[in-house]
Amino acid sequence: MTTLRAFTCDDLFKFNNINLDPLTETYGIPFYLQYLAHWPEFFIVAEAPGGELMGYIMGKAEGSVAREEWHGHVTALSVAPEFRRLGLAAKLMEMLEEISERKGGFFVDLFVRVSNQVAVNMYKQLGYSVYRTVIEYYSASNGEPDEDAYDMRKALSSDTEKKSIVPIPHPVRPEDIE
């Protein structure tokens, strides 16, 4: 039981229950506005009947069409602790994939902390696989060291041969990814 709708600026005042989670980054206003200005359809929020925000997904479309790298990207996905275990993240991912399909993307990708096993497993269940490891993608904070990321991908229907998800065996550095 969820209302799924476009994320608006006013939601920034209400998302504390989601963003006070230690793994959810609160970005500067420009970051959110950039997504709202450029890819508003990729920014979806779920709202409970009581008006509480349950979770949101923020993403974009990018990459070269000619090189078959045009794809949907998940920038942020977070669900408030009390609304977990409802399959909400899966639903939001499904929506982002559908929009990416419509835009003719070849795949959807995302980055996730290698330590975030809960998330990695969830993405695997949703059909994502590790495409490559990005070394020290997450910079140090709160006394924790730099952390590696998995670049996970799922092929969309345009990529009939699933070429886009063939894993790269060697880890790459953040400056080498596009």
Partner: protein, 952 residues
């Protein structure tokens, strides 16, 4: 020459190192490099601008600005200079200068698409909608690309939105925008989805909902593909605005069949159903069916629809959806509101909720879901409900302590949910002290038992049993607030600290600890707790109040200042940041987002918290710095506080605080209400007003205090002073009024829920007497100022010759004598008051001096009031001395007046004899005047002597 296009512009190559230095933050080197380059190439303007950027970034604003203006007046048309100037002006917060720059550039290069488009964006940055409209069209004429045309259309819409006069919007801007789009539609030139979106936006704002619907449903609507369900959402919006309830109903029905979990459509389904029933709408027998499909018009149909949806879920093997079950409760709620007996068809709410718990009791959101519908249970069923739920919780055998524990996390979640529900039903609050203590023991036992399930949890994860710990803390707080037993509070703190040790990233533990420490008056632990929440950016506005409400008031001035700074930095960047993305929204055709971004910017600018931290930060600076490192006047000037200016949007204040950030499962009658929110905002606003007025009064005082003395200044200065003291007067009477309002507010003794907004500092400021003491002190400054000026004014009215010879005639001004008498009398009164003040202050001073001697601290300054008194008696002395001088002067000139020299004109009417008598009379007057002057002079002298005894 053929290869010219490939050769890099040599200037680019020369400038490159400067760009690199700037990019790397090496501003000094950038300036040096620019100077070097300018020696060789005097006309390389861009180097000057880059140097200016370096200067700006090293704090040399004035130099930077004049350098930039040197280049700007040349009206450059090279890309490098233009872009560099744009960057510089933006950093200087002068975006309006960028418009001038490109206005000049397009004049010189009228066919440049690039410069015209920069000009449009420059206007967009400062919100010059009219000029944007023209710039967009000019651009379209040069390069007929659709986006340019629609930029112009959108600028019309923005003129409509920003128009003060709604009529102008409806009759001029929007219709014009509509016609512009229609023209493109007719010519079949519509290309992009954004253009259709904009068309829809215009029609919607014009209230042309039918036309808007036609667009969405028609061929143009086919372009609306990016957003999921874009067409359906827009149709639904229009159906609701047009009150087309059949369509609304049918569409909701259709969408619910597709996704029976989408809550918004249950709401529109029920809304439309009841509207149709109220209108006794019936299917037309013939003719066209509703375009959206079948319409449902009876409760029976709705009941069946909801029951069918539930059955659908019942059959599913995994992951049933919650929507249909909650829709059932929602329908009962609505039927009950309407007094409709059919709710029985859906079943007993108690059974339905038990059923819901059976299905979803192991989900953490079960409490949030059911909480909304607990009012469907009559009070006498509450305990029964709790017991029924208890039966559905598998717990192990009870141990010695009488508690049975869950065997896995699902059972734990169920048990927890029952606890949460019983709290929400008020059953926990109904317990007596012993009952509550036993409840705490039970919750603690479950908390500790549950920790075993989370042994492998990462530091970033929550423990499964965390919420038991939080609830135990809530019960402790209940006990503390009810009984005043502080021991409960200490145990509560211990409980939460323990919880945090097992679950170091639990934000709720941190928030509650933070609140409790603040209530205890201990701010130091709060700093670390808050920083571990990692609250950033917009969160400064929404939860920053937790910090700023207490830091200053608990005497942690450094922390208070720092937390104000965090918030201020966020707010100050808002203006610049949002402008950039308004421009981006034009570029990407996200037209709907443009008014949204502007409203967002306004919401931040009008934030209560913003105004609070702005004011508090300056007061803090004054309290800690003024007359310590800088004088009050210098501090005020450095802050740029202008007493006449009020920059707080009192009438449009936005309360952006997140007042429900702390989780609560309290029953409805203890929850935060809209009325609480309203009262809290009111209270905070009045307190803010007191603070803002205090700040402005202090600024006013500072500027007044250091004005040149009025008796040796020219006329203009006197005016300046009176203007300043009239500001002081106005502000003081505003403060008085505000304090009256404040007193009324505090009389209400509003109590907020414990987990809701903290009370403002208003009540304690009033009861401590600080408000009134400060107001009186400030009033005193005004009185003194008045005393001084009116005293001098009186004296100046005494001036003039009481007796003089003019044009061979004798002129008297006896009123001057009378005025002088009033002056002397007044001096007496003032001196008596001064002597009273001295008597009050003298013991105060000597006790201070004793202390000083004890401490041997020679640096302790005398309190302001002492200095103020000394200043006052000083100026009194000045006035009296002036008056004495005046009297002396009068005496002298009177004595010097030789009446004998006066040739009384004989022959008119007077004989010589008569003239003799006149002379005698004149002599008498002269002597008498002299006598009066002498007497008043004597008195004044004696009074001046008594001034000496006023030393304290």
């Amino acid at each position: 020459m053929a290869a010219r296009g490939h050769v890099q512009d040599p200037n680019d190559r020369r400038l490159r190192p400067i760009y690199d230095y700037l990019d790397n933050g090496n501003n000094k080197m950038a300036i040096q490099q620019a100077d070097k380059l300018l020696k060789k190439h005097k006309d390389l303007h861009c180097a000057k601008v880059l140097k200016a950027i370096g200067l700006q970034r090293t704090g040399k604003q004035d130099e930077a600005f004049s350098l930039a203006q040197e280049v700007a007046t040349l009206e450059p048309t090279d890309d490098n200079s233009l872009q560099a100037l744009t960057i510089l002006y933006r950093e200087m917060h002068h975006p309006e200068l960028v418009t001038k720059l490109y206005e000049a550039a397009v004049k010189k290069v009228p066919l440049s698409e690039e410069y015209h488009s920069h000009l449009f964006m420059a206007y967009a940055r400062v919100g010059e909608y009219k000029k944007m409209q023209q710039a967009g069209m000019a651009l379209y004429k040069i390069v007929p690309k659709n986006p340019y045309y629609f930029w112009s259309v959108m600028s019309l819409v923005m003129q409509a939105i920003s128009a003060q006069d709604e009529k102008l919007a409806q009759t001029m801007f929007l219709p014009l925008a509509e016609r512009m789009v229609e023209k493109m539609v007719k010519e079949e030139k519509i290309e992009a989805e954004a253009e259709v979106q904009l068309y829809f936006m215009i029609l919607e704002r014009l209230g042309k909902c039918v036309e808007a619907l036609d667009v969405v449903r028609g061929p143009l609507g086919e372009k609306l593909t990016s957003e999921l369900r874009s067409r359906e959402n827009k149709c639904m919006m229009m159906y609701q605005r047009l009150q087309l309830w059949p369509e609304c109903n049918a569409l909701s029905y259709k969408l619910l069949l597709k996704n029976p979990d989408d809550w918004q459509f249950y709401l529109s389904y029920f809304d439309s159903l009841f509207h149709l029933m109220d209108k006794s709408w019936s299917q037309p027998e013939e003719g066209e069916h509703c375009v959206e499909g079948p319409v449902q018009t009876t409760v029976a149909e709705a009941v069946k629809f909801v029951v069918d949806r539930m059955e659908e879920q019942d059959k599913k093997e995994s992951r049933p959806l919650r929507g249909p079950y909650l829709a059932c409760l929602e329908l009962i709620h609505r039927l009950r509101q309407r007094g409709c007996p059919d709710e029985k068809e859906l079943g007993d709410p108690l059974e339905l909720m038990v059923q819901f718990f059976g299905k979803f009791g192991d989900k953490p959101c079960c409490i949030t879901d059911l909480k909304i519908y607990l009012h469907l249970l009559p009070p006498e069923q509450r305990s029964q409900f709790k017991n029924r739920l208890g039966e559905l919780v598998p717990l192990g055998e009870a141990g010695e302590d009488g508690f049975g524990f869950p065997g896995d996390t699902k059972a734990l979640q169920r048990h927890l949910c029952v606890c949460q529900l019983s709290r929400a039903l008020g059953l926990q609050h109904a317990l007596d002290t012993e009952g509550k203590l036993r409840l705490i023991t039970e919750l603690k036992a479950h908390y500790h038992h549950g920790l075993q399930f989370g042994k492998s949890c990462l530091k970033t994860e929550l423990q499964f049993s965390d919420m038991y710990c939080l609830m135990a803390a809530h019960v402790y707080i209940d006990l503390w607030t009810e009984t005043g037993d502080e021991n409960m509070l200490w145990q509560c703190l211990g409980m939460l600290e323990e919880g945090l040790s097992f679950s170091p990233s639990n934000a709720q533990f941190k928030l509650l600890l933070l609140l409790l420490f603040c209530r205890l008056g201990a701010f130091q632990p709060v700093v670390d707790l808050y920083s571990s929440l990692d609250a950033k950016h917009v969160q400064h506005d929404t939860i920053g109040y937790l910090l700023t409400r207490y830091a200053g008031s608990l005497g942690q001035f450094a922390a208070a200042s720092q937390s104000c700074n965090f918030s201020l930095r966020f707010f100050h960047s808002n203006q610049k940041d949002t402008s950039e993305y308004i421009i981006q929204a034009y570029k990407y055709g996200a037209f709907e987002k443009i008014p949204e971004f502007i409203a967002f910017r306004t919401r931040l600018n009008q934030s209560l918290h913003f105004a609070q931290v702005r004011t508090e930060r300056m007061l803090l600076d004054l309290y800690t710095e003024a007359d310590v490192t800088l004088s009050l006047e210098e501090s005020v000037k450095a802050m740029g506080v202008c007493p006449e200016e009020d920059d707080i949007p009192w009438d449009n204040m936005r309360d952006n605080r997140d007042l429900t950030v702390l989780v609560s499962w309290d029953p409805k009658d203890r929850e935060l209400t809209e009325e609480h929110r309203r009262l809290s905002l009111e209270e905070e606003s009045v307190w803010l007003k007191v603070r803002a007025l205090t700040l402005r009064l202090l600024a006013s005082l500072a500027l007044l205090g250091h004005a040149p003395s009025p008796w040796n200044s020219d006329k203009t200065n006197e005016n300046g002073i009176s203007a300043k003291s009239s500001t002081l007067q106005t502000l003081l009477s505003q403060l008085d009024q505000t304090l009256e309002t404040a007193a009324q507010i505090t009389e209400k003794h509003t109590q907020y829920p414990f987990l809701g907004p903290p009370s403002s500092r208003l009540a304690s400021a009033l009861s401590s007497g600080s408000c009134h003491c400060q107001a009186s002190a400030l009033q005193l400054s005004l009185t003194l100022r008045e005393l001084e000026t009116t005293g001098l004014e009186m004296l100046s009215r005494c001036k003039g010759e009481v007796l003089e010879m003019k044009d061979g005639r004798l002129k008297t001004q006896p009123s001057l004598l009378e005025t002088l008498v009033f002056f002397v009398e007044t001096v007496c009164v003032v001196l008596w008051v001064a002597s009273y003040s001295a008597n009050v202050l003298r013991p105060l001073k000597s006790s201070l001096q004793k202390k000083k001697k004890k401490k041997k601290d020679s640096s302790t300054a005398m309190p302001v009031v002492m200095c103020g008194f000394q200043e006052w008696t000083g100026s009194l002395h000045g006035v009296v001395t002036q008056a004495l001088d005046h009297v002396k002067g009068q005496e002298a000139s009177l004595t010097a007046l030789k009446l004998a020299a006066l040739t009384l004109e004989e022959g008119y009417s007077q004989t010589q004899e008569e003239c003799g008598f006149t002379r005698a009379a004149m002599d008498k007057v002269q002597t008498s005047y002299l006598g009066s002057l002498q007497e008043m002079g004597d008195l004044l002298r004696k009074r001046a002597d008594s001034l000496k005894s006023l030393k304290i």
